[in-house]
Amino acid sequence: MSEEKYVPKSKLGQWFDSRLPLLTLAHHINDYPTPKNLNYWWTFGGILTFFLIVQIITGLVLAMHYVAHADLAFGSVEHIMRDVNYGWLIRYLHANGSSMFFLAVYIHIFRALFYGSYKAPREMIWIIGMLIYMLMMATAFMGYVLPWGQMSFWAATVITNLFSAIPLVGESITTWLWGGYAVGSPTLTRFFSLHYLMPFLIFGLVILHIWALHIPGNNNPVGIDIKQLSKETVPFHPYIIIKDLYALLIFLIIFSGFVFFVPNVLGHPDNYIEANPMITPTHIVPEWYLLPFYAILRSIPDKLGGVVVMFAAVFILMFLPWLDTSKVRSAVFRPLYKIFFWILVIDVIVLGYIGAKPPEGMYLIIGRIATIYYFVHFILIMPILGFKEKTKPLPLSISDPVLGDEDKLSSEKTMNNR
């Protein structure tokens, strides 16, 4: 992205870089031109990377003490909590880290929705991001099974049974997933194996995600292309790194609040009861970050239908770049979309609330309305809005809304002929 080709200063550096261009890579990241108008909603990518590393390191340490066997798992987690030096801290970091990871990813995703960051030419970034999100959900679900408490066991049962809705082969698939005729020890050991693997797959996808980002460069709050690199961007180091670190610090304060003061509020007390295949807790709920999808599942009064619609709710996001027909990226210039965006945010929060409530009476009705609206937003509102909406005039450059029109016309050097 920088104009001239980078050559390391030292002879050794040149020798090394011509054989393995790691220094060029470091230099690229250092100098990577970033729109100067990025706001704090853009700091969550860095926060997410940080939390992936936190999860991997704390997970690695937990795995040194954890035993993946139905008879021993619950006890080994208690052993981590009581006997292992700082075991309580590491486990609380890992359990709450997962919640913070999801909090950050939801903010990150809604940021993309608001500023139209999924639109051309950034579709690949978006699609890889969605794959990461799905893998995150699978990873967190399997991690939640590992402590082998009541919620672990029944979450594993309900989620794996989703596959039994598949016609004809459903039952063979669940038996295959379980390694038995119900969730049991074979299920636990394979979940542990996969829970260990998946974060590294996520890590690989994160590299692709950032690679895909560095081709067109960042989107920005006004959502228009960079016209003039030298005037409209700042190098990643030190400007963006420092801003990211500042945001991370604030986020870490919230994280510490959870870890040190209320480490169990986001969890469920029933998970401190050992798994019992004979009794289902009267009110089972998934972790908070999966609640909206759980609400969608339960709002459909048919088994296969519920499962299909729930998966559709995730997969539909993949098609967003083509469902959104508007040429304008940022919601700042889309007065109607801006309203619908906030309605969607509320809708998802309502779904999350309903997901935590028993599926009866009013809750069921609200859940159904919210589910329908969720799909209406993506299938009807997004495509139609692109044609009907009268958008506000776009500024000529990203400097424009800040500086007035002094450098409006000096756009001889655009991103495209870099």
């Binding site: 049974n161 390694g179 038995g180 119900a182 049991g184 009794i279 289902t280 009064p301």
Partner: protein, 203 residues
């Protein structure tokens, strides 16, 4: 499982044979042209055939990797359980674990039995006569696994005097048939037999 592996291997051997024979066949056809330097068809075919064979080879290796996740011999060995039912009072249920799943054994009251029998089949989502679900009307034996997503339903609950699943609200009647809620089918009846009047063998 080993039988399916044999089938798979046989299919693969047949495929290999097929590829080999078609190669010979094509070779004979193109060999003339090739001598005249007109074509590279033969070489293309060899490439394609090699890749295809490679893909098949990968398939053969992948199957054991997939199949290892199916229930192993030790899991399958726990196939039957004998239960003493002499101590179960009228209108009481016991739950036993069979293959990791709960099984309900209920000694039904006369009232429950007649209630189950008097239901019109048209009213049912998964029509089944009560007679077809029991060996002796007094004893209802079924897996206690909700056919929706696998929770254990609670006894003596729900709108039909049978079972109620708290997870997503499925109601079962006194014969364990689904009456209301998202579950698609009746509670399953496992294979069982009465060894004598006081003992049943499940599985």
């Amino acid at each position: 499982m080993s039988s399916s592996y044999a089938v798979l291997t046989t299919i693969i051997i047949l495929l290999v044979l097929f590829l080999y024979l078609s190669w010979v066949f094509v070779s004979i056809k193109v060999v003339d042209k090739e001598q005249k330097g007109e074509t590279t068809e033969r070489r293309d075919f060899l490439f394609t055939a090699s890749y295809a064979l490679g893909a098949v080879g990968v398939g053969v290796v992948v199957w054991p990797l997939i199949d290892q996740m199916n229930p192993d011999a030790s899991v399958k060995a726990l196939a039957t359980t004998e239960v003493d039912i002499s101590k179960i009072g009228l209108g009481k249920t016991i739950t036993v674990l069979w293959r990791g799943k709960p099984v309900f054994i209920r000694r039904r009251t006369q009232e429950e039995i007649s209630k189950a029998k008097n239901v019109q089949l048209e009213e049912l989502k998964d029509p089944q006569k009560d007679e077809d679900r029991v060996k002796k009307p007094e004893w209802l034996i079924m897996t206690g696994v909700c056919t929706h997503l696998g929770c254990v339903p609670l006894g003596d609950k729900g709108d039909f005097g049978g079972w109620f699943c708290p997870c997503h609200g499925s109601h079962y009647d006194t014969s364990g048939r689904i009456r209301k809620g998202p579950a698609p089918t009746n509670l399953e009846i496992p294979k069982y037999e009465f060894v004598d009047n006081n003992t049943i063998k499940i599985g």
